[in-house]
């Protein structure tokens, strides 16, 4: 079953561990600006949103890329940025509807999540569970449940207990 990266913004505490571990995993340094996952904080709404690639089936970033740098590399299960092809035109940055593509400030090439080739490091360090890597059906089931609760059809099990 296809696994997806689930983002549960309401659980995010804004600790930025995901940014740190991501940049370490990919660049060998702890620098949030080099992270493929980025945190957006809305202080006034007490909301923290981790922003990361949505792994679209028809990725706009790949559609606009003039050099074919955004895509799969032979032998690797997840899409990457083929840095040797990237010319740094920033088209993908503008095309991504999620805001999940950024430019590498030093290399001048695009950065996008590659799911650590199937074992995302950010998920492992996310203590509050705002990031989860789960099979698609499980994620959908959970979301469905949450929606039902949200619509007030049912009180959530937690609320029932207390």
């Amino acid at each position: 079953m296809q696994k997806v990266l689930v983002i549960d913004a309401d659980r995010c505490t804004g600790c930025r561990q995901c940014e740190l571990v991501c940049s370490y995993e990919h660049e060998g340094v702890y620098a949030p600006t080099l992270s493929r996952i980025r945190l957006v904080k809305f202080e006034d709404r007490c909301l923290n949103v981790p922003v990361v690639c949505g792994f679209c089936d028809k990725p706009p970033c790949e559609d606009v890329c003039p050099t074919g740098a955004m895509g799969q590399r032979a032998g690797q299960p997840y899409a990457v940025v083929r840095e040797e092809n990237c010319i740094g035109c920033k088209e993908c940055v503008h095309a991504c509807p999620l805001g999940a593509v950024a430019m590498h400030p030093r290399k001048g090439v695009a950065m996008r999540c590659d799911l650590c080739q199937g074992d995302p490091a950010c998920v492992k360090v996310c203590a509050p569970g705002a990031l989860r890597y789960e099979p698609l059906d499980a994620a959908v089931r959970q979301k469905r449940r949450a929606r039902v609760v949200a619509l007030g059809v049912l009180r959530s099990p937690e609320e029932e207990e207390c």
């Binding site: 890329c65 003039p66 050099t67 074919g68 840095e83 040797e84 092809n85 290399k107």
Partner: protein, 400 residues
């Protein structure tokens, strides 16, 4: 610890490597070894110099200050004799020994002379260096008869330059048409007609059989069709050969130095870039000498970055040439000659002023020849590189 970098060859590949190294490593020491005494200049502009459109000063790519800014030690007029990977050192012709942590071989190529020209008299030369160009220019100004052998891009550009300098040069081509390695027959015919109108004589299908020398050097060429062409100078533009002597036997060399995508040779710490290397063609997959400027620049950057500890790769070679033939623009990219095979097809648009051909293999765009109208050539190149099927919109007529 401070790393020691040595760059052999002070031309486009070497320069672009120096920039890349410094972008990453501000501490390390960089030594550039240059056989030529000049600052780096653009070889491509040599024909513009011959034509009298540029002065020698206009050819230089950078100023002296570049080396101070980049904190580079430049050894001019010094040739590297050999690279010894076992001892991590480079031997120079003045006896000096340079130790290195990473060395770049960017020694470029030299003109190839077929056997008839090999030990020719005074008046036989290639066109590769500023000295060559100066000699040709002087000969042109003194009204010499100059013949050019080879119908490739360099031969054609030189013929145009000499025409612009006021001569009526003769271009001798052994293939049945010019640009036989680069473009197709129809494009070549258009260019030949254009050259003829401008006063450049192009003779295809002839070889030089013998050189006739007098006391003051070359006098005439005996041609394979039995005719004799009187001339005082012949410029041989029959392609180039990578200058691999300094590493031969110590790293893997075929026609050029064999490198991986990161421009590493078979010996650790030894990198190579530019005309000296052999790279994999993006389309045919075949390994061949790279020989064009944009590759040299890109490879130099890749090599420099990797020498300084970065990790980047060169995506592979796409053979391409852009020419301006006396006002007629020409672009040829990728595979341009189509084998008689149903898997291949061509989409051709012709107009009074333009000839545009796209070459497709099983529906995939693999090459293009554009003559007269090269607008949007880069868009076509990108489509060739991507290998997608979105080429059809490229042939729809433009409204502008």
């Amino acid at each position: 610890m401070k790393k020691e970098y040595v760059v052999i060859g002070n031309s486009v590949a070497g320069l672009s490597a120096v920039r890349a190294i410094r972008a990453i490593d501000r501490e390390g020491s960089i030594t550039v070894v240059s056989e030529e005494r000049h600052l780096p200049y653009s070889r491509v502009l040599l024909t513009h110099y011959v034509a009298g459109k540029l002065r020698t000063d206009d050819l230089f790519l950078i100023q002296e200050a570049f080396y101070q800014k980049m904190r580079v030690r430049l050894l001019r007029g010094v040739r590297a004799v050999r690279v010894v990977p076992g001892e991590r050192g480079v031997e120079l012709d003045d006896g000096r020994w340079l130790r290195y942590d990473a060395v770049l071989v960017a020694t470029g190529a030299r003109p190839y002379f077929p056997a008839v020209f090999a030990r020719g008299p005074e008046g036989v030369l290639g066109l590769r260096t500023l000295e060559d160009a100066v000699r040709i220019r002087e000969a042109a100004l003194s009204g010499s008869q100059i013949a050019i052998v080879g119908g490739g891009p360099v031969g054609i550009k030189l013929a145009c330059a000499l025409q612009e300098a006021g001569l009526s040069p003769t271009l001798l081509v052994s293939s049945p048409h010019i640009l036989s390695q680069v473009a197709d027959q129809e494009a070549a015919a258009i260019i030949e007609r254009h050259l003829a109108r401008a006063g450049v004589r192009v003779r295809c299908g002839v070889n030089v059989e013998e050189l006739v020398a007098g006391r003051r050097g070359l006098q005439a060429l005996m041609l394979s069709d039995g005719s004799v062409l009187a001339c005082d100078m012949v410029v041989v533009c029959k392609g180039v050969r990578p200058q691999v002597e300094l590493v031969a036997g110590r790293v893997r060399v075929r026609r050029g130095v064999v490198v991986d995508a990161g421009m590493r040779t078979s010996a650790p710490g030894v990198f190579a870039a530019g005309d000296v290397v052999e790279v994999r063609d993006l389309i045919t997959g075949e390994e061949r000498p790279s020989a064009i400027w944009p590759h040299a620049a890109a490879q130099g950057r890749v090599a420099g970055t990797n020498m300084a500890g970065g990790r980047v790769a060169f995506p592979g070679a796409l053979q391409r040439n852009a020419l301006e033939v006396l006002g007629l623009p020409v672009v040829a990219m990728g595979v341009t000659r189509v084998p008689a095979d149903p898997a291949w097809e061509c989409v051709i648009t012709r107009s009074k002023v333009a000839y545009r051909k796209l070459v497709l293999k099983r529906g995939r765009l693999v090459g293009a020849v554009l003559v007269g109208d090269v607008e949007g050539a880069g868009i076509i190149q990108a489509a060739i590189r991507r290998g997608d099927a979105g080429w059809r919109q490229l042939v729809t007529p433009r409204a502008s």
